[in-house]
Symmetry: C2
């Protein structure tokens, strides 16, 4: 299974934001919504064998399961509405237990460290970073867990955790990409088996 973890540093941890202003008013939630889109959407299909986790302010984690998703649409606004709906139930997320807030969407009170712990048990952590090795030089692991940051760089503590746990640190090209674009490129790399199968 492919996985993506996206760290949202400024993203809301409560549902008090407007769907009319996802950039400034909702801490660049637009970036995270596009990451969900890139993770799951194919033309007229959903990638089922994929998982995406959004870490919100190191306080909550939203887990999206491709095989279970039912009400996901490609546009930012409707994805933001799903996230807001999830955060409306944040009081039900007690300890590290998850609450399913819509089909295939799970909310838990976990920060990045706890979420990374989960991911390490499920696959091989790969940090996407502009100083990493070219992706074409790295054999893709069977169950890759790509970790990305939103519009900000990884915080020092996040970078330290990744240095400890990531099996590889790769870059996808010579340009620094938006997180959602990086997910699209990573998918294409895996879809083609390292640009070999078309």
């Amino acid at each position: 299974m492919r996985q993506f973890i996206v760290i949202g540093h400024d993203a809301p941890a409560d549902p008090d934001f407007s769907l009319d202003d996802l950039t400034g008013g909702a801490g660049r939630l637009d970036v995270l919504c596009r990451c969900v889109n890139s993770t799951f959407f194919l033309s007229h299909a959903i990638r089922e064998d994929v998982r995406c986790r959004l870490v919100l302010r190191d306080e909550f984690t939203l887990r999206f399961e491709g095989s279970e998703l039912r009400r996901l649409n490609p546009d930012e606004r409707s994805t933001a509405a799903l996230i807001r709906k999830a955060l409306e139930r944040r009081d039900e997320a007690i300890g590290h237990a998850e609450v399913e807030t819509s089909p295939g969407v799970y909310l838990s009170r976990k920060g990045f460290a706890a979420t990374l712990d989960d991911a390490v048990r499920e696959g091989t952590v790969v940090e996407l970073h502009e100083e990493g090795n070219p992706v074409v030089d790295v054999e893709p692991p069977e169950d890759p867990v790509f970790v990305l940051s939103d519009h900000r760089d990884f915080a020092e503590r996040e970078a330290a955790l990744l240095a400890e746990t990531a099996a590889a640190r790769v870059r996808l090209g010579p340009k620094r990409l938006h997180a959602d674009h990086a997910i699209t490129v990573a998918h294409n790399y895996l879809d083609t088996g390292g640009y070999a199968r078309y």
Copy 2:
């Protein structure tokens, strides 16, 4: 220069749409907004040497110039607002003359055929299509003009025009991608010189 032409079959040709419903109410304008995003955005930078044209209902064309853009933001809503603002001035677009509706955004009363004519004079037309040749087998032209369709397939007349004018027909992988994801993959292919330079 790299160029992308995206055909919006259901996109609005007038400004009477709500920014609160870009999917159903505005003919999947969300797809086109994400295509503009993928065309121009790098992390904390704009790709300057890139042009994007959106064809709206075979009636209007919006040309976005990377080197001139000033008020473009990554989120769908603000891009849709730029498009709506352009369409508010549609009566000023007379014949094939263009109107600059915001910095770097030009509206003209041109359908796909006229827009493709312009593009043929400016570069080498490449059709992105799932039945094309693997992109890695095609030498990228110096000034590629990639032509894509929105959430619908090319109409018969569009496909016929492309068959006449396109120098190549390529596919980007084994999966059918959303148009905006295809743009991201095409950029990455060119950025890396065919997955060679990282």
